[in-house]
Amino acid sequence: MLGHKDHGKSTLIGRMLIASGKVTPDRIDEAKRASSEAGVEFEPAFLLDTFSDERELGMTFDNTRVQISHEDTLFELIDVPGHEELMKSMLSGSSSADIGVVVVSAKSDEGITDQTRRHVYVAKMFGVSRFVVAVNKMDLSGFNEETFKPLKAEIGDFLGNIGLRKQDFEIIPISARGDVNIIRRDASVKWYSGRSLFESLVALAHESGNPHSLPPDPRLIIQSVIPRNGATAILGRVIGGEIKPGMKMTVFPGSQDIDVTEILKGMKKAESAHKGESVALVTAESFGGDVRGSVLSVRSFTGKVSNSIRAHIFFVEPLHGELSLLLMDVPVRVLKVTVDEVIDPSSGRRRKGGEVKPLETAIVRITLGKEIAFDTFARCRELGGIVLAHNSRLVGSGIVI
């Protein structure tokens, strides 16, 4: 759930919770009571903004994740803060989402802002491939088509400019407070013949969506290694391909070869392991050094092993001090970051090299203190999503290109 602060993200989620029948009467009564205590009209956002200071300040601090189901489709809604200074929470939310719901206020002095464009640009960069734009607060203009039209044109242009196809997004006039066009299309808005928000979400959820190609070679991220009956058990998650007992595999970096003698899922032996599965691989070999964060694949591994990475990074802080790069949560020392080109996500403006400021993105070349195994984000999300940190503070995050 993306958008500028005060454009109604939390209100819309609250409304969606009520509409899907997910919230019990108890919870709604509680939110009504809290609304009247705060001296405002019933505010569905209070179903999410559960901290008392969130309610008093009328802002969301951190990602809230709630589930709703509609017509046999289960959604998890991630509410992200709309404030500039809370972009790190927005990045956390975007990195785990499939569909972006962009809330834009139709109120005359609100509309599409830098923050709206920044959210959408970053979400797309972080792998969100489909968007529903909810043009909210349409009740303020009495659902006037003339209010909607220019906003629709402006949003459509922007989404097109950042590379989305027409079938990847939908733009819907709604009122979250007034409950219009949320579950089904409201007949009173005669000029609008498109889908309701829920109809659109269900349709997008069932499209195959993200066309990113899977790496064909077997890959596993090593989390840890423990002894097992005189042999070694490698604990980790499969991130591509298929692994079978008897397979010869190689640890990257370092290129140590091992034979997989057995695959365990939980306490049971398995005949194969596939993408997404947490497994244990048993091998007779042992490891000299620390292999946590290493990639177990085959000799013909199609990813890269290098100390130089080209990436597109969104910065939340200026580039400064000693940096480390995190990939699958394992930190590696950064020797140098060279900025090739800076792209402002709120305007799309580009400039060559130079300083990169917070809230800008940049195409960079990162040189590391040692070799690591990685891949492009487009091919393998797990090996292509990276973070730059300084003393465990987030500096920026982005994708290997």
């Binding site: 901290f51 423990i226 939980g266 995190l326």
Partner: protein, 264 residues
């Protein structure tokens, strides 16, 4: 009404991943075990993650007023699963109830045992769907020395990279069940045949749906006496899981205060 369409194996894979990360990235890990369904399911997942062994001590914060069935179940599973059990005794103060009871008694006992053993991470089996406040929790979440939760400045979690985790002399909370719903837990218990506290099954028309201690938990009216029956019941209920918990009722903000103070 609860949705029973989720892929349990996908949830298992995710939780196993989190438990292994939690174990690898911290020095001395312990888990809280209330003998309720969630923390028992978590121990079963830990056995799946670590080749049949639970590789960390499990802490029961015992105020002496848990149900007899609960103590019996604790001893049975301790032997069956070879658990390294630590009982942290917390004294019950009869003049306190709900908020102050869970807050001061249980949290103080936990602080003591964490200090004594030097644990730097604690596995807690909370789920996002339990309570509005818990919907803002993260898989890994630092608590300061006084167990306080700085919810305004939580670590970033970006593609399984966790940034800002230093706990300043405090500890890290590990939440492997955050993605699970109540019904998912029961479906997992059903699929893996996980041993379960008998209080969840009906006796004379009543059963417990959420387990606290004898002072602040009330049973629901139900004739259900099997895991299959519980799943069926949950698919049709409109009552919230923790409706029988006194400490939640006092007010929404009480839960916020409890969590900020370090309550699980």
């Amino acid at each position: 009404m609860q949705d029973d369409s989720r892929d349990i194996e996908e949830l298992v894979n995710r939780s196993v991943y989190i438990l292994r990360e939690g174990k690898s990235r911290n020095k001395k890990v312990a888990a809280l075990w209330s003998m309720g369904k969630d923390s028992t399911a978590m121990l079963s997942l830990a056995r799946e993650a670590f080749l049949g062994e639970v590789p960390f001590p499990v802490i029961h914060i015992d105020n002496g007023i848990d149900f007899p069935e609960t103590y019996k179940f604790r001893e049975k599973l301790k032997d069956e699963w070879n658990l390294d059990l630590i009982v942290a005794e917390s004294r019950i103060q009869p003049e306190l109830s709900g908020f102050s009871c869970c807050g001061s008694n249980k949290t103080d006992a936990l602080k003591k045992v964490m200090d004594e053993y030097g644990f730097d991470a604690l596995i807690v089996s909370i789920r996002r769907d339990e309570h509005g406040i818990r919907a803002k929790e993260k898989y890994f979440s630092p608590r300061d020395r006084d167990f306080k939760w700085d919810y305004k400045n939580q670590p970033a979690e970006i593609w399984d990279n966790y940034i800002g985790m230093e706990s300043d002399g405090g500890h890290i909370r590990i939440h492997p069940l955050l993605d699970w719903n109540e019904i998912d837990i029961w479906r997992y218990i059903q699929m893996r045949d996980v041993p379960i506290n008998p209080l969840y099954f009906s006796v004379k028309g009543y059963r417990y749906r959420s387990l606290g201690c004898t002072h602040c938990t009330v049973p629901i009216q139900s004739d259900v006496d099997s895991v299959d029956g519980i799943i069926k019941e949950l698919k049709n209920t409109s009552v919230e899981e923790r409706a029988g918990r006194e400490q939640d009722k006092e007010k929404e903000y009480v839960m916020q205060k409890l969590r900020q103070m370090g309550y699980m």
